[in-house]
Symmetry: C2
Subunit: 243 residues, 2 copies
Amino acid sequence: MANKFIQKLQGFARLTDKAVLALEAATSRPVDFEPRQDLIREGDRPGPVLVVLEGWAFRYKALPNGSRQIMAFLMPGDACDLNIGMLEEMDHSIQTVTPAKVVKIAGETMAELMDTHRSIAKAMYVAQLVDEGTLRAWIVSLGRGSSAERAAHLLLELYVRGVHTGMSRDDEVELPLSQVVLADALGMTPVHINRVLQDLRQSGAIELQRKLLRIRDPAALTRISGFDDNYLHRKLRKPASKH
Amino acid sequence: MANKFIQKLQGFARLTDKAVLALEAATSRPVDFEPRQDLIREGDRPGPVLVVLEGWAFRYKALPNGSRQIMAFLMPGDACDLNIGMLEEMDHSIQTVTPAKVVKIAGETMAELMDTHRSIAKAMYVAQLVDEGTLRAWIVSLGRGSSAERAAHLLLELYVRGVHTGMSRDDEVELPLSQVVLADALGMTPVHINRVLQDLRQSGAIELQRKLLRIRDPAALTRISGFDDNYLHRKLRKPASKH
DNA sequence: CGGCTCCTTGACTTTCCTCAACATCAGTGG
DNA sequence: CCACTGATGTTGAGGAAAGTCAAGGAGCCG
């Protein structure tokens, strides 16, 4: 079975059989990481492209005062920036949440893959644009949402992404994030996210326990969050069949 | 004289003379836009790459409740996303602030430029990474900053970017943004940004009047904002000489 | 059991928003 | 030249949202 990375790329462009084989070869040797381990740190000289095959991680920036802001979650299949090797040093860090399997694809290997298989190049470009759209949606949520809106938006984003990558079944998705992590992502305090989550539970919109999120009332949650999945560019998946 | 776009790219990679000529040809026919005019709207089918040669614009997303969140400012020399043409539809809009001169470079033209002149490709990739870093810094600022921190951070970002593109002289930079626009960028109300700016003025960190920003005490402003220009990746400019 | 980490609750404080009024300025047209 | 208009900036008073501090509870694991 193709891994989550390949599955994700297939959602963005129709990959040839040869392309799939090449990708499988390039991702056949994942490395295991513990939870709470930095994959790469701010200030490091970036090297290969990192691809998370299993487990969760997040991009974050540690602040002088000891707090941190999480800017994105990496779920299985997600990769870090394509051209990251061109930068002198990382401007943020990436840390695992759960035990994870991660593959490092050398810059030259990646370039060769994209050169040889244009369908891979296209899929990678689209993936990059989607990541950027997600960043922008995050900004909108942080900037203009109430705490309940922000929380609902994040939960929905993670749920929808989970659906796309086949990690959810029905209305459930595994969500291995502590409230501290959620707070760091949403720009609020752990105490406050706790209260917000309780409100969402009591309103009947969600169930959340034991690392398992269940969307009980998608309409309500969408209404609360103002969520608009436009930025995830799912529509791209249909035109892929036109090629 | 090369336009701001070319100047900016030259900061990211050493462009050959031929590359510069090709870029000049591609950007020789700018179109004029009025202030407050949308260059492209959410939902539009994206086409050519947009490049702002003169004037200011911003990316924003309009929200159902009538407010909007600004996610990035485009200064002279800035371009919108490189691969934007691959998306089905825009997930945000771009609007001018001032009168502006904008060039549209067709996707094929851009692809050809990057194919023929690898230095252009490199510079465009780096520009894209810097934009993404800027987005992430924006998230950090929105998520973790007090209102004063956020405001100080944005002013510093714009000032530093102004310096890089030769739009500032000494400690001054033209800042044609109303307090309403600043509020929409910083996720706060116009009333509040007004008070924050007054505090910054009274503390002696800045002067701001008549669309002219003067940084009086850079150290103080940096301290207040927690600003770290890492994400702008200025260091790239030096290694460019190694190529 | 003890020692973790994570979650929950309550009381109090601070920050920021809301609403509302007024001031200032530039541009427009009489 | 002045009155009018619209956009922008400023100020004040009161209220809602979120943070802080502090303590205790629940689950997990050696």
